[in-house]
Every structure is written in structure tokens, then in C-alpha cells.
Symmetry: C2
Subunit: 139 residues, 2 copies
DNA sequence: CAAAAAAAGCAACAATGTTGCATTAATATC
DNA sequence: GATATTAATGCAACATTGTTGCTTTTTTTG
């Protein structure tokens, strides 16, 4: 079975064209995609609402997660797990946004550093957003 | 001269009712405010577009900055400077979102830790978003 | 106070988010 | 493989937010 179909099935979802295609699109791109990017790419094939609901479903399942951004555009990125969950889970990884190519990527290889907070504050989840130049744009 | 008026003047802006009121509102609240919160509070007094443009102006001047959030709601927070700038500037501070009271606050007292990135990536600006329990909700 | 410049208000439209519901497609079962 | 069951899609419709142009009003300057 295809990787994408496997993921869909593993979450108890039905295999449908939108779902397979959107998942493939994410895999092929490898960086965070904004709602307009996704919509524009698929609008000839699928309804706007269907795309919206697919993203929603994928979020709930933990297949995608939202990537915060300063520009107000919601972005989505694939969750990288070795194991497939059916439950959503925490995402403690770095989000990197390249000021040159504009692409936002998830960096799982480096740990999120421990944060020291003022007295009384208790951290549960930390997310780190870094702007700069990515490896492909360097040099 | 009032503190709010002083800030407005220092940025070469004209003193108008919306500007003073919105600035006072931010000061009184002390945490990040979403666009709907601000709009709802002032809609009886000012036009939606005027509020929108005021926030926009304050962002450009560096009086307010955007606070990223996972819920998709844009939030704005006062920039804390000892000195008053006329230029926008970088904001390297922690944003803390309390899962209990829902309030998002800027934490300037603690440093943003150094992040280690994979080879080829160069960090220019780091922003840290922490979810957890705030000092007021602890205990 | 008058002139000049800037901001506010209003209308209008674009983009995105969101729901209900009838139709269609995907799976389970025979 | 046909059929029943259940879920997903498409479409219409509406809500919210973002954004612009332009006219009127307000603020500042002299
Ligand atoms: Mn993940
Ligand atoms: Mn600041
Ligand atoms: Zn890049
Ligand atoms: Zn709290």
C-alpha cells in the first residue's frame, strides 16, 4: 500500500482522492504550506470547503500541525513520526522561516532548549520560531 | 503630558481619540489583545477600519507588535521600551500563553536561549512561545 | 483663525472561515 | 460483486476579517 494511503488508513479515515493528493503534495514539498498555496494548487480538482475540511481532519488526527507565523498566514506542516499515532500529540520542535526563499520548515533534529521563566510561571509546551537563512539559501 | 500622548507624539503621530484610547486600553490590560477583543470594546466609539488602521500604524511605529498564536487569532501587545523609538525594532522576548486564563503575556525579564541549528542554517531572530500556567493562575 | 495635512468614517469588495444539507463515494457485509 | 451503511464531497449561504478609495472631519501649524 502507498505510504499516503497507509497513513490515512492508520488514522481510521477513508481513502479519498483529496486526502491522498493533499498528503502527497505535502510530502513532495517538504515545507510548511499555507492555505492559499494548497487551495490554489487544488482548486481545479476539489472544492474549497473540501480542502478546508481535509486540513481540519488532518489536524485533528495529528497528521498535520499548524505552524505559527508573523505574517498572519496560517501554515500547515506534516508531522514527522516514525510511528503512526491515531491521537494528536505535542510538537516540540523548531520552526525555521527563511527570509530569503520564504519557506518555513520543521527542524526535528535539534532539541528545543530549556527556558527559564519568572517565578510562578510553569511551562508545559515550548515552541521555537527562528527566522534566518536556510541551508539551501546559504553561501 | 499623559504617557499615552507622549508615546503618540514621540512617533510623530497626531493625537486623536482612537489612538489615545487604544493605547490606554493596552496599558490597562497588560496582556496581548486580539483584534476582536479590541474591536468589540471600541465598536460603539470607533469605526472598524479606523481601529484596523490604528493597529497598523502602531505596528509600523513599533508601539505594538504581533504575537503569534496557534489559534489563528492575531494578537497585539505593547512594546516595552525604556527608550522611545520612532523605528520598528526586533523583539527577542518570550511570549507566554496561559492555558488556564487564556491570557498571552510578553516576558522581557528572561533571556531567549541560544538555539542550535543544523549545518547551513543561520539564525537572525528567535522567538519563543511557551504554553503553560501563569503566575496568577498557579497554586 | 485660516490653511495645510492627516486621520476618520463609510461604502465596497476580497479573502478566509464555517455550517447545513442534499448528493455521491467508500467501506463493510452478505 | 451487489447492496446496505456510513462517511465524505460539493454547493449554497453566511460570518468574520482584511483591505482600499474617497469624502468629510479633525488636528496641527503659522
Ligand atoms: Mn508531529
Ligand atoms: Mn518592543
Ligand atoms: Zn531559504
Ligand atoms: Zn493564567
Amino acid at each position: 500500500m502507498e505510504k499516503e494511503v497507509e497513513i490515512i488508513k492508520a488514522h481510521g479515515l477513508r481513502k479519498t482522492p483529496v486526502r491522498v493528493d493533499i498528503l502527497k503534495y505535502f510530502s513532495s514539498k517538504g515545507y510548511a504550506l499555507s492555505q492559499p498555496e494548497i487551495e490554489d494548487h487544488f482548486k481545479k480538482d476539489f472544492d474549497r470547503v473540501t480542502i478546508y475540511r481535509t486540513l481540519h481532519t488532518y489536524m485533528e488526527c495529528g497528521i498535520l500541525h499548524k505552524v505559527p507565523s508573523e505574517d498572519g498566514l496560517t501554515r500547515y506542516a506534516l508531522c514527522q513520526h516514525e510511528h503512526v499515532h491515531s491521537e494528536p500529540h505535542a510538537h516540540e520542535h523548531i520552526h525555521f522561516s527563511c527570509t530569503d526563499c520564504g519557506k518555513t520548515t520543521c527542524i526535528d533534529s535539534e532539541p528545543v532548549p530549556q527556558v527559564h521563566l519568572p517565578k510562578g510561571f510553569k511551562a508545559e509546551e515550548t515552541s521555537l520560531f527562528v527566522k534566518g537563512t536556510c541551508d539551501k539559501c546559504a553561501g
